[in-house]
């Protein structure tokens, strides 16, 4: 089966610093793939490559077998319609209310009529407990609420591929669990492909179908969550072990 997203020898540097070096990674359709690793290794950079926010210095990225660097403008736009992205720092529009932020993707792209937009926004607001703050501006709400607004905005277009950049950072444990549960349940219901960049281990292992561990500009481990628990690569072991209190169980 052709992977949905495929990195083929992708290399990316910023100045003297190489962030991705000859990365090969396949992401299958209809599965949740988590990219984990230490802070600053380049996980978000990988995510941005998938949607075309960054272009690799060398190598290719394929989407459904097509090299995204060779797509025309129209083809790129059609591909991007399938994506949704949740930024690490939320990237909410300060001059718009919570309601307007969530409605923006479907309003601007004229995907639905006005009453349908209201219905969709209210549905997703209720799911994420945002109904009481729909009239507020991002500067008037907490970091955790902003995270949920960003998540609502990412989910509202019913995309085929959702890229989550640290979706639970800043949330309390109960809400973290709720967000992961929602991602997993929605994924099962709508069968979208999710790529999640996160530090939340071992929580992510319970919902991810595949884990990719990024370190030193390379993928050191790519496989199922059970495998990473018993991985013998020292840096992977060092990263994963504390999550289990020193025991890989």
């Amino acid at each position: 089966m052709t992977p949905l997203i495929q990195f083929n020898k992708v290399t990316k540097s910023f100045g003297q610093q190489t962030v991705l070096s000859q990365i090969d990674l396949s992401i299958d359709k209809g599965r949740i793939t988590a990219i984990i690793g230490k802070s600053g290794v380049g996980k978000s950079v990988m995510l941005k490559h998938m949607i075309g926010l960054l272009k690799p210095d060398s190598g290719s990225i394929f989407l459904n077998g097509k090299d995204i660097s060779k797509l025309s403008g129209k083809e790129s736009r059609q591909i991007r319609q399938k994506f949704s992205y949740m930024f690490q720092n939320m990237a909410l529009f300060d001059s718009m209310t919570v309601y307007e932020n969530i409605a923006l993707p479907i309003q601007e792209r004229r995907l639905y009529k006005k009453d349908q937009i209201i219905q969709k926004v209210m549905n997703i607001s209720n799911q994420l407990e945002l109904e009481d703050i729909n009239h507020k501006y991002p500067s008037q709400i907490s970091g955790g609420m902003k995270k949920r607004v960003a998540l609502a905005r990412a989910l509202i277009t019913d995309p085929e591929i959702i890229l989550f950049d640290e979706p639970t950072t800043g949330l309390d444990p109960i809400r973290k669990h709720a967000v992961f549960k929602m991602i997993s349940e929605n994924q099962q219901k709508f069968n979208y492909t999710a790529v999640i960049v996160t530090h939340e281990i071992p929580d992510i292992f319970y919902i991810a179908h595949e884990i990719a561990f990024l370190e030193d500009a390379r993928i050191l481990y790519h496989g199922d969550p059970k495998g990473i628990e018993t991985c013998s690569i020292p840096v992977v072991k060092q990263f994963v072990e504390p999550a289990y209190g020193g025991n890989n169980q």
Partner: protein, 266 residues
Amino acid sequence: MKNNPIKQFCQILGYALISFIYELGHITTFFIESFIRLFQYPFQYTKWMHQMYFIGVKSISVVCLTALFTGMVLGLQGYYTLVKFGSEGLLGSAVALSLIRELGPVLTAIMIIGRAGSSMAAEMGIMRISDQIDALYTMNINPKRFLISPKIGASIISFPLLTAIFDVVGILGGYMSGVVMLGINPAVYIKGMENSVLMTDVSGGFIKSIVFSIIVSTICLYQGYYTHLRSDGFGAKGVSISTTVAVVMSCVIVLIADYVLTSFLL
């Protein structure tokens, strides 16, 4: 030859020239891309209105204040110069022509640069560094159409209107200082103005204001939009440098363009 100063000088000059031409081309394509999207369906009426309110309506008070005192100073200075030649009756012509041909478009542009131009540059810069522009891209919303086009369109509409307001208030200012304070015959003031101001003067002033609107909006929005590409500052510092560069560059280019346009229009 090691450390040849002539070679080094030529290299620096060449690099500066290439950078300048690259930047000029980049700004031009930025403007053309954004301008074309003004006419893309569906039209963004609401955004246009909002931007016209922000750029136009909210600049009226500062434009009126500047115009009033500019006109009064022109009246004052003009009177004491013309009276030496016994030509104080030409004060109306002098004030009106100076304002309509030159000071109206230029000072209006400079006031809007300070008020709206800096704000546009800062807004774009902050949106850039907080990933809001990238967020639009990921939502398949063209950032230039969504953010830039309405501001350019609103500027093109607002500048000539504000220039007209400047001209009128400035002429009134000249009337206040010349007629009310210094005792020139009001009929002479108004008649002088009526006889000397031609439609070509008015249209010339409006042509300048439209050109200045394109210059100011493009430069300010460009600087903010590409804040992340700055090598001399990142984050908040980058936004601050972009805003400063936007204001200074806009002012300088408006003055240069004023000379070029005047030489064509006269």
